[in-house]
C-alpha cells in the first residue's frame, strides 16, 4: 500500500491482505540494494496468520520516493514515521543486514513501541572495505556481482525463492541492478555506494543497545561471508540476544526460507523483557 511519510510517497507490501492496524503489526526492513520483495514469503505467511504486515521499501528503493535517507538513524526515524502513517502504534521489527541496524535504532529510540526485534544476517560494526566502496562507486555492476557471490553460500540452494524455477543468484543480482537503475536524489552517488556507506558509517550500535527493552533474536547464517556470526558477539551480549543459526549465507531469506520462517516465528513469540 502507498503511504505518505514526511511528505513523500512511501510503499509497503502488506503480504497479500489489506493492512489492519488492529492486528499485531510486523514491519520488515530490507537490507542494502534490496526492496520489499525479499520478504515476499514471510510477509505472506504472517499476513495470513493473524498479523498486519508492512514490508517497506526504504526511500529511494523500489516504489518509495527518494532521496534515500542519509543515515541509519534517519532511516529509523523515517520508519517510525511510516508506522505512524499506517496507524500502527506498536510493532515487531524484522530486519535484514542494513535493515537490522535500522531496527536496532528504532527499538532504542522508541522502546515502548517495538515489541520484538529479529535481526537477520547482522553484524556490528558493519564495516565495509574501502575496496568494495570504491568498486561500488566506480564499477557498481561489478560490485553487485561481488556482493552477490559473497552473499550466497551455495549455487545449489533448495527450495528456490520465491518458488520453484527461480534461480536465487540471478534474482538477487537482478534486484540489485533494478535498485541501482531506480535510485534517485543521490547527488551524484549511486545507490550501491550510498547504502554501503550507511552500513559502514553506523557507530551507535552499543549505545543504542543499552536503550533496547524488547526481546531480541539474532538469526545468523553459519556460512555468512558478509556479516560473519563472529562479528555479532559484542552486540549480542549487549542486547542479551537469543541466537538462532541456519546453514546459509547472508541471503538467508532466499537461501533458507523455511528455516527463517521458523526462526522468525520463534523470535516473535518471545514476550519476556531482557534481563
Amino acid at each position: 500500500m502507498e503511504l505518505t511519510v514526511n511528505g513523500r510517497k512511501a510503499y509497503a507490501y502488506t503480504g497479500g491482505k489489506p493492512f489492519d492496524a488492529a492486528l499485531p503489526c510486523v514491519v520488515f526492513i530490507h537490507g542494502a540494494m534490496n526492496d520489499h520483495s525479499v520478504w515476499n514469503l514471510l510477509a505472506r505467511w504472517f499476513a495470513h496468520h493473524g498479523h498486519a504486515v508492512l514490508a517497506l521499501d526504504q526511500p529511494g528503493h523500489g516504489r518509495s520516493d527518494g532521496p534515500p535517507e542519509p543515515s541509519v538513524e534517519a532511516l529509523a526515524e523515517w520508519t517510525l514515521a511510516l508506522l505512524d502513517a499506517a496507524g500502527a502504534r506498536r510493532a515487531a521489527v524484522v530486519g535484514h543486514s542494513m535493515g537490522t541496524l535500522v531496527g536496532l535504532e528504532m527499538a532504542a529510540r522508541a522502546p515502548g513501541r517495538i515489541t520484538q526485534l529479529a535481526m537477520i544476517g547482522t553484524a556490528y560494526p558493519m564495516k565495509v572495505s574501502d575496496a568494495l566502496l570504491s568498486t561500488g562507486r566506480d564499477e557498481p555492476l561489478r560490485a553487485i556481482d561481488l556482493v552477490n557471490n559473497l552473499s550466497h553460500a551455495s549455487i545449489a540452494t533448495k527450495p528456490s525463492f520465491p518458488g520453484p524455477g527461480m534461480w536465487v543468484h540471478g534474482g538477487a543480482r537482478a534486484l540489485m541492478r533494478r535498485m541501482l537503475h531506480g535510485g534517485t536524489g543521490l547527488d551524484g552517488r549511486n545507490l550501491f555506494e550510498h547504502d554501503f556507506r550507511l552500513c559502514d558509517a553506523y557507530a551507535n550500535g552499543l549505545p543504542a543497545a543499552a536503550q533496547v527493552r524488547c526481546p531480541v533474536t539474532f538469526i545468523l547464517g553459519t556460512r555468512d561471508q558478509m556479516t560473519s556470526p563472529k562479528a555479532t558477539r559484542e552486540l549480542a551480549a549487549a542486547l542479551r540476544a537469543q541466537i538462532l543459526t541456519l546453514a546459509a549465507g547472508h541471503s538467508l531469506m532466499t537461501e533458507a526460507p523455511d528455516g527463517v520462517l521458523n526462526a522468525v516465528r520463534q523470535a516473535l513469540a518471545r514476550t519476556e523483557e531482557p534481563a
Partner: protein, 433 residues
C-alpha cells in the same frame, strides 16, 4: 579488487542448483517421477497454495527435477528463473499468452522457424492476437510496426533459415522506448554462443529439444526471464500489475520485483494450458546441458570446416553462414557471436529440384529429418518440409529458395562429413547430366 567471482559457464553447466540429494546422497539429479507431493499438515498445504512457502504441490505446476533444469538454464543465461515446457512451441505460446490476449498485437521477425510462423500467423490470429512481420534487419520497420496494442517484439537470435543475426541491442532499445519487452528464440545459439539478456533482450526461450538436450531424444522447451523489464513503468501490462482474480487477487509485480512474469506464467499459463514437461524429459535435457560447452565447441569447429568446403565447391551457388564475409549479418555476427554462429545453416545447390533430391538421397551420414541440434548431422529441404505452408513470395521473404538445403552439423569427424557431402554433390552433378 580481489574477491569472489561468478562461477564459470562450464561449472554452472554441471553444478548450478544440484547438490547431492539430502535423502539418499545421490550425486546426479534424481528423477522425481511423481505427480504430487505430500503435505506436512493442513497448514503447510494452505501455505504452499497461497505462496507463503516455497515448495512443490503438483507436477504440472512444478517438480524438483524440472526445477533444477529451469534454474540451471536461468543460471547459464544470466536470468532470474525459468519454466520448463512440453516443447519449444509451448514455451513461445506461454510467453505470448502471459502478455497478450484478444485484441493484442505482436511485432515479429519474418525470419522465423516455420512452426513459430504458423503459431503467430495462423493460430494466434484466430484467438485475436495479430502479428506484423518485419525483416529482422529492417530497423525502421520494427519501430514503425509498433501499435498502441502491441505487447512484445519477437525474433530469433539467428533467423531461420538464412541466419540473419538479430540486432538485439538495437531492437531491444526500440522495444524499450515503447515500454515493450523483447522476446528472443535462442535455440540456435544456446547461452554458450550468446547470452541475449546481456545485449538487452528481456525474455527468451529455447527449444530444448535441440542443442540443450543435444541427442535428439526428447521434446521440450524452456522459457527464461531476465528480470530487468519494469512492468509497472511500462503501463501496458495489467496482467502483471493489477490484481489477478485467478490467483488470490495477486499483483505479481508487487510480489516479486524481478520475477513477476514467471510468477504469472506459472500460476496461469502453465496451470491452465498445462503444457508442462515430464521430469524424465527434464532429466535427459540436464544430461545434455552438462556437456553443452564441449558439444557447442565441437559443433562450431565442425561447422566452420564444412562451411569452408561448401563455399568453395562448384555445385554450390551460395552458403548462408554469418562468419562468411558476404553474409548480410557478418558485422553483427562478429559483434554478438564471437564464439561462432552455431551449426545450423543453409546453402543453395546449383541445378534443378531433381538434383536437390539426388543430393539428399545420396547422403549416408547425414540423416534426412525435421530437426536440428542433434549430435548427429542432419539435412532437410525447407521448401518441401518445414516451410511448405508458405507460398513462393513468403518463402522469398524468409530467404528460402527452391534449392535451399539446410544442414545441422553434428559431432562426427569433420573429414567424414565432408566426404559424405562430396559424394552427394557428385551425385547431384550427375543427376543434371
Amino acid at each position: 579488487m580481489p574477491g569472489a567471482s561468478d562461477p564459470g559457464f562450464d561449472t554452472l553447466a554441471l553444478h548450478a542448483v544440484a547438490a547431492p540429494d539430502p535423502a539418499t546422497g545421490a550425486r546426479a539429479v534424481p528423477i522425481h517421477l511423481t505427480t504430487s507431493f505430500v503435505f506436512e499438515s493442513s497448514e503447510h498445504a494452505a501455505s504452499l497454495f497461497n505462496l507463503e512457502r516455497s515448495g512443490h504441490v503438483y507436477s504440472r505446476i512444478s517438480n524438483p527435477t524440472n526445477a533444477v533444469l529451469e534454474e540451471r538454464v536461468a543460471a547459464l543465461e544470466g536470468g532470474v528463473g525459468a519454466i520448463a515446457t512440453a516443447s519449444g512451441q509451448a514455451a513461445l505460446h506461454l510467453a505470448i499468452a502471459t502478455l497478450a490476449g484478444a485484441g493484442s498485437h505482436v511485432v515479429a521477425s519474418s525470419a522465423l522457424y516455420g512452426g513459430s510462423h504458423n503459431l503467430l500467423h495462423y493460430t494466434l490470429s484466430r484467438f485475436g492476437v495479430e502479428t506484423t512481420f518485419v525483416k529482422p534487419g529492417d530497423i525502421d520497420g520494427w519501430r514503425a510496426a509498433i501499435r498502441p496494442n502491441t505487447r512484445l517484439l519477437f525474433g530469433e537470435t539467428l533467423g531461420n533459415p538464412g541466419l540473419d543475426v538479430l540486432d538485439i541491442p538495437t531492437v531491444s532499445a526500440i522495444a524499450h522506448d515503447s515500454g515493450l519487452p523483447l522476446l528472443v528464440d535462442s535455440t540456435f545459439t544456446t547461452p554458450w554462443l550468446m547470452k541475449p539478456f546481456e545485449h538487452g533482450a528481456d525474455l527468451l526461450f529455447h527449444s530444448a529439444t535441440k542443442f540443450l538436450s543435444g541427442h535428439g531424444t526428447v521434446i521440450g522447451g524452456v522459457l527464461v526471464d531476465g528480470g530487468m523489464f519494469d512492468w509497472d513503468a511500462s503501463g501496458r501490462f495489467p496482467e502483471l500489475t493489477q490484481p489477478y482474480d485467478g490467483f488470490h487477487g495477486m499483483v505479481f509485480s508487487e510480489e516479486s520485483t524481478v520475477g513477476a512474469f514467471l510468477l504469472r506464467a506459472r500460476r496461469e499459463g502453465l496451470r491452465d494450458f498445462g503444457a508442462c514437461m515430464s521430469p524424465h524429459t527434464a532429466w535427459l535435457i540436464l544430461q545434455g546441458i552438462e556437456t553443452l560447452p564441449l558439444r557447442m565447441a565441437r559443433h562450431v569447429e565442425n561447422t566452420r570446416k564444412v562451411v569452408q568446403f561448401l563455399a568453395s565447391h562448384p555445385m554450390v551457388s551460395s552458403v548462408a553462414y554469418p562468419e562468411l564475409e558476404g553474409h548480410s549479418s557478418h558485422a553483427l555476427a562478429k559483434k554478438l557471436l564471437p564464439r561462432g554462429c552455431g551449426s545450423v545453416f543453409s546453402f543453395d545447390l546449383k541445378g534443378s529440384r531433381a538434383q536437390g533430391r539426388a543430393f539428399i538421397e545420396s547422403l549416408r551420414l547425414f540423416s534426412h529429418l525435421a530437426n536440428v541440434g542433434d549430435c548427429r548431422s542432419l539435412v532437410i529441404h525447407p521448401a518441401s518440409t518445414t516451410h511448405f505452408r508458405m507460398d513462393d513470395d513468403a518463402l522469398a521473404r524468409a530467404g528460402i529458395g527452391p534449392g535451399t538445403i539446410r544442414l545441422s552439423i553434428g559431432l562426427e569427424e569433420s573429414d567424414d562429413l565432408i566426404d559424405d557431402l562430396k559424394r552427394a554433390l557428385k551425385a547431384a552433378e550427375k543427376a543434371g547430366t
